[in-house]
Point group: C2
Chain length 432, copies 2
């Protein structure tokens, strides 16, 4: 029986969507790695009663562990630490030494604003140094300390209080896991295995059918926790299982491979981004991109990873037709004849940026992201791609992408990466 945990993400700015929460999912993933069962993430506003409501809910559901993120800052709406202390029946008191350590951290950070009120800073420091009785302090990574607050009695949950900024939360989580209070709360948890299959060019309903087939063939599939989802135009099949069920997983993976071999592009969790990076890196090839409707998103995606300068030379954002002509050398007469959104212009962009930067691979993207600009012949979502490589070879394709302007632009970068991957592997265009 594995330990159960819940996560409370605090912050009205998260509740109302002005900030996207990345901590809840990140912590959920870490818990799963530890074999701790994660049942809920609750997002609550900066109100004590709502935070208490979530703590009480998790406690009532029999959680062994509750993680909170956020609400440790200097403003009055940051109230997690005292609320958790009170919930655990542990009143807070000022930790003078901690307050001094916070002061030493904050001082240099505030140096660039010389006009700040010292009394206000001191009040903020002291607020952040209030510690519930019997809690373990997690040293600040930014300015806010974290806490591990055990229950007064053994049956109630232990609460781990972490800061909101992901850059502070992540290292502090590593420290929290090492504390005696954390280990006591989670006991000996089963380690689970998790594997991911990624497919491109298939509707999710077809995967549902494959799950039914695999189930009919071999009842052991019931030992696997399988979830499927669509993400950025790809289907992801994630399976979690106890190590003893490896054979059941292998059989399931083989069934997927047999039915969907041509479009199963990853069975080791690697993303298409990683595959393209590795293919370019292994072969010592460089890449350059010329983007119209994506406006730089593909360049940004190709430079997301540290070390991408090994293969990514640069690119052109050719949003206006004038830019397509001036930067990528596309013939104005060609645009006039076939239109800016055409396979011919996509190929011209790929060739143009490839030669402008002397890159081994050139990518051209031109399309209609919407919401305006569509025609009957070329509706919103029509995007033309071309990958130029080798001795004048091209892999060129027109795709109709669903969704909003955001979706069309985002998915276009996925399609482009798959075309690059398939071009480098000598495969044709994917079934789109």
């Amino acid at each position: 029986m594995s330990a159960r945990a819940g996560i409370v993400v605090t912050g009205t700015e998260v509740l109302t969507g002005r900030v996207v929460d990345r901590n809840g999912p990140w912590l959920a993933e870490r818990l799963r790695e530890l074999g701790i069962d994660i049942a809920h993430i609750a997002v609550v506003g900066d109100r004590a009663r709502d935070l208490v409501g979530a703590l009480r809910f998790f406690s009532g559901e029999g959680m062994d562990l509750i993680l909170t993120s956020g609400g440790l800052g200097p403003t009055a709406d940051d109230l997690t630490a005292p609320v958790v202390g009170d919930f655990q029946g542990r009143p807070s008191a000022l930790d003078e030494a901690l307050s001094e350590r916070i002061r030493l951290i904050v001082e240099p950070l505030l140096a660039r604003w010389p006009d700040l009120d010292p009394a206000a800073i001191e009040a903020a420091n002291r607020k952040q140094a209030m510690v519930p009785e019997g809690a373990t302090v997690l040293e600040p990574v930014g300015t806010a300390p974290g806490l591990v607050v055990p229950p007064l009695s053994g049956t109630a949950p232990t609460v781990v209080v972490l800061p909101g900024p992901p850059g502070e939360l992540k290292p502090m989580w590593a420290a929290a896991v090492e504390t005696a209070a954390f280990r006591a709360a989670t006991g000996a948890a089963v380690e689970y295995s998790q594997r991911m299959l990624r497919l491109f060019g298939i509707p999710e309903s077809e995967i549902a059918e494959t799950l039914r087939v695999a189930d009919g063939e071999d009842g052991r599939i019931s030992a696997l926790e399988i979830t499927t989802c669509l993400r950025r135009g790809e289907v992801e099949v994630v399976t979690r299982y106890e190590p003893a069920d490896q054979a059941a997983y292998d059989h399931f993976a083989a069934t997927v491979r047999e039915r969907h071999g041509g479009i199963l592009f990853s069975d080791d969790g690697r993303s298409v981004d990683e595959q393209v990076a590795d293919l370019l890196g292994e072969r010592g090839l460089t890449i350059a991109v010329a983007e119209s409707c994506t406006g730089g998103l593909l360049g940004a995606r190709l430079t997301e990873r540290a070390g991408s300068s090994e293969y990514m030379v640069g690119g052109l954002v050719v949003y206006a037709n004038a830019a397509k002509i001036a930067l990528a050398g596309v013939d104005p007469a060609l645009i006039e004849r076939v239109g800016a959104v055409s396979e011919e212009v996509a190929a011209g962009l790929a060739d143009g940026v490839r030669s402008a930067l002397g890159a081994d691979v050139g990518v051209g993207i031109t399309g209609i992201a919407g919401p305006g600009g569509g025609t009957e012949e070329k509706p919103v979502g029509t995007v033309c791609f071309s990958v130029a490589f080798g001795e004048g070879e091209h892999l060129t394709r027109t795709v109709h992408l669903p969704g909003s302007r955001f979706d069309v632009r985002d998915r276009s970068t996925t399609v482009a990466l798959h075309l690059v991957r398939r071009a480098l592997l000598g495969l044709g265009a994917p079934p789109l």
Copy 2:
């Protein structure tokens, strides 16, 4: 007393962070506009017991309304509709007419995959057409219908069941609000006002001090619900209040303006993106960008909005030094002398792209996004910006940005937009 609501976002893929939830915050915002108090968003995995746990929690907290998103798809892990039906004491039955309508929607969508198994498709259609007794059906926007499921007794919450894809959820929400069951559950809610102030170039702790000052001056600030947050390097102050408290808000806003006039750049909720777009549009100016460490992110941000082709011509992604030289015409000797990350090269990039595209405004960005590549003199996070405009004028600035590679790249686009805004308004560099 306003109605209270909770949101349940389902999906193991959301719980574990493979998909970022945008529905919860979007729905929270819509509820707030309706004057409905939103206390919690719960994210739960695809397990019936966890979904029931969240429904029971919200019900116990006295919610009038529960919204669910997700779990309406064709796969077996999509179980929201029957679980909600059972929770409300309303067994589900097949709605034959609805099943037929779903069939008509699905057929053309699946045409591009001719090899699919018709029996599997039919099973998926029927699964999605199971309706709890007494529930109101929300017509499908994609393939999945939504539901409004009232309680058997008046004191329990009404549950609105919505699909996961945002493009389906949003139009379906509009339909849900119009149903008699929804109106009965929410009654006459107070409409709240919400205002946002945005500041750039200030630590959040300083805003905390301003809140204390405003509080001391005039006790009416207690009538306002004020939350502050840091987002992409800016401080946002969001205030929510009943219309009767307009004067209290006006006084608070005046206090912020008085204390932070130079860095308060928006008091009407407009983002710096919108301000730059409007400034360029009003003056008929065009812009072009040359990006090194941001790799296309600024171009992507400037083309996020429909209609951006009015002012955004294009740009250069000059990731490698070879690209800085070949595309933006930066002198190799200059790079040799002062380094690629320097104000001189940033200005050269701004000038280069401005003249390459004949744009009125040119922006150059070059920096060290990390995690590698830093030196003592130019640590990770050092980013140089230059805006070229007018008759050879430049607004040039070096900034040291905290955080991860992602953060440095993302915040760099914010800094660049603020420099463009300030250049166009004839202001100097911001206090950074």
